[in-house]
């Protein structure tokens, strides 16, 4: 895929990520549908498969899931300099795209977090701050359990993919009750998958 981007287009790209940053409550992944609407459907800067594989690849890599946004920017840059066929000469624009996307998605939310968290810490004796933290605690714990549940349900129905569900259940018990290193579990999961056992 090849396209031409003007400096104004790059600014629009930055602006889109800046505007989504403060809406990303619950993580950057919650804004993915809007990124798809803008980048793929409206501007045609990315193909559908580039969009999907950016998300899949970032989940296979270590680190926070928001790295998929760097890959979206990277792919826009690569497309703007002749696509994968252009080889390493496409990399500078790829890196620029990744940098613009990350800057846009991070700058507003990190600034707000920094200011708000500092305020909350300095005023931690206030009744309202204590009530907020105490009230939110059980909800936050339930959100973690829900995330695990939702991730499992994406693996397929329990009847069809019972081996995957069993793997999830065993991992849950091991992590909850033992101090086994998390990397061993991930390696085992990857291996079982590659061998076709789950």
């Amino acid at each position: 895929m090849t396209l031409t981007l003007s400096s104004l287009d790059w600014l629009h790209l930055l602006g889109h990520f800046l505007s989504l940053s403060l809406l990303a409550i619950g993580g950057a992944i919650t804004t993915a549908p809007d990124m798809h609407r803008y980048l793929v459907e409206q501007q045609h800067w990315l193909t559908d498969s580039q969009f999907t594989s950016s998300i899949a690849l970032s989940q296979a890599a270590p680190g926070p899931n928001l790295l998929f946004i760097a890959l979206l920017g990277w792919n826009v840059g690569i497309n703007a300099s002749g696509g994968l066929a252009a080889g390493a000469s496409a990399w500078p624009l790829g890196f620029m795209g990744a940098a613009i996307a990350m800057l846009g998605i991070l700058l507003p939310s990190t600034t707000l977090t920094f200011v708000a968290a500092r305020w909350a810490h300095n005023n931690r004796e206030l009744l309202s701050v204590r009530a907020f933290k105490a009230g939110m605690s059980p909800i936050v714990i339930a959100l973690l359990a829900s995330t695990g549940w939702i991730l499992s349900s994406k693996l397929g129905s329990a009847a069809e993919s019972w081996r995957l569900w069993l793997l999830t259940a065993v991992v849950t018990l091991l992590v909850w009750r033992t101090r086994i290193h998390l990397l061993w579990l991930l390696a085992a999961g990857g291996l079982l998958g590659a061998l076709g056992w789950v």
């Binding site: 760097a70 810490h121 973690l144 992590v175 590659a194």
Partner: protein
Amino acid sequence: MRPASKSDLFWSFSWLALQGFGGVVAVVQRELVEKKQWLTREEFVEEWAVAQILPGPNVVNLSLMIGDRYFGVQGALLALAGMLFFPLLIVMAMVIAFSGISDLPQVQAALRGMGAVAAGLITATGLKLITAVKLNPMGKKMCWLLAALTFVAIAVLRWPLIWVLLGIGGMACIIAYQAILRIQARSSGEGAP
């Protein structure tokens, strides 16, 4: 316990980010709460509540908050850099190296296996943190009720997070507010006849 130095902070966050496949929160809990003990479970849950309600990726928010706590603005930036720098290098290297093979069935199957493990890691993190509500002013029963309501709303009914946080979360804050007031009234009333 606290980070020994700014470089300890940076490398600790780099190390935990590099272990975080399919979600970093399980690793943050394991490394910072259980191993390094920079935070207690109660503190972790409280900080996580703040990180969750603010926009932006939760683990990024949490790293900023912890870094700022120990070394101010520099600490916040160092923790953020640790969280992002090496993972970003790796994911860029992967996109360059694997642009041809990511569609292979074996690669897809391995990713599915790792996805199942990641789901277990996050569920277990939630289970471990349950003990953090022991000291909660609302009491255990109310905490369980609120947690169950939240789980049903998010995992079963799939309501949008924002409405759950505003609705159930708002209600929980009011209940906690009244519970703290009651506890204060009781403890100040103890001396009186």
